[in-house]
Symmetry: C2
Subunit: 113 residues, 2 copies
DNA sequence: GTAAAGTATGCAAATAGGCGAATACTTACA
DNA sequence: TGTAAGTATTCGCCTATTTGCATACTTTAC
């Protein structure tokens, strides 16, 4: 592949990943995977100020990771692609393995001492 | 689940995602998925300064996403878990779909005009 | 038209992250 | 011990991101 094209795709790829790189956004994405929410209900659900949630949703919208649909005064947001959750789940499972290993290591150190 | 624990896990989860949130690190991860490399060879391969590569590897090491193994003067790095690549591939496939949709939209606009 | 509900944005401050060049550290070997 | 190769880190600089508050914008309903 052309190197410049590869670089451009990697840039977009990294941009999507940066959409995942915030704990509040992860919570928002998992929440939207269950249900569509409008901004204020979502803010209540995740216990964050409305402006913070709105700004996170903009980050996700800019990356096409969520879809916005206006209904009256409200704007309903939903997950645009379930592969986002699949990817998050893979990484979370990896994290769980890693934490288990750390715990096992800690136990073995206790036993040895 | 306890809300504080959930928040802590989300924080670690986001930290892993932030490891993916840079185009050079994505290139490095895909490169290491093919082969283990020492730092300087990897720097040649990805065409970045040694210090830049070393710093990126530290980011990945801190998140347990790569494994370092010293052999003589060299330190060989390898991917610590293939699920990283699986997650990246899911997101890249999503990106590809999105780019295709954009292209199709652009074509339809041309036809319509 | 005006008020109210819902949403987005400007602002300012703080924090984090990226880079290359230079330098320090580590290991091997003469 | 001293030199070279390989790696990590410090430095200076710059850009990006997150946050809450206050405010502006948009839509509905009276």
């Amino acid at each position: 592949m052309d190197n410049n094209l590869r670089a451009e795709i990697d840039r977009l790829h990294a941009q999507i990943c940066s959409g995942l790189a915030d704990p509040n956004r992860i919570l928002i994405l998992y929440t939207l995977a269950e249900n569509a929410y409008n901004v204020s209900d979502l803010a209540l659900k995740v216990e964050l100020p409305q402006s913070t949630v709105s700004r996170h949703l903009k980050v996700l919208r800019d990356r096409d990771m969520v879809t916005a649909q206006r209904d009256g005064q409200s704007v309903f947001y939903s997950l645009s692609d379930d592969r986002i959750i699949q990817a998050l789940n893979l990484l979370r499972a990896m994290l769980a393995s890693s934490l288990e290993n750390q715990a096992a290591l800690a136990r073995s150190v206790q036993i040895a001492s």
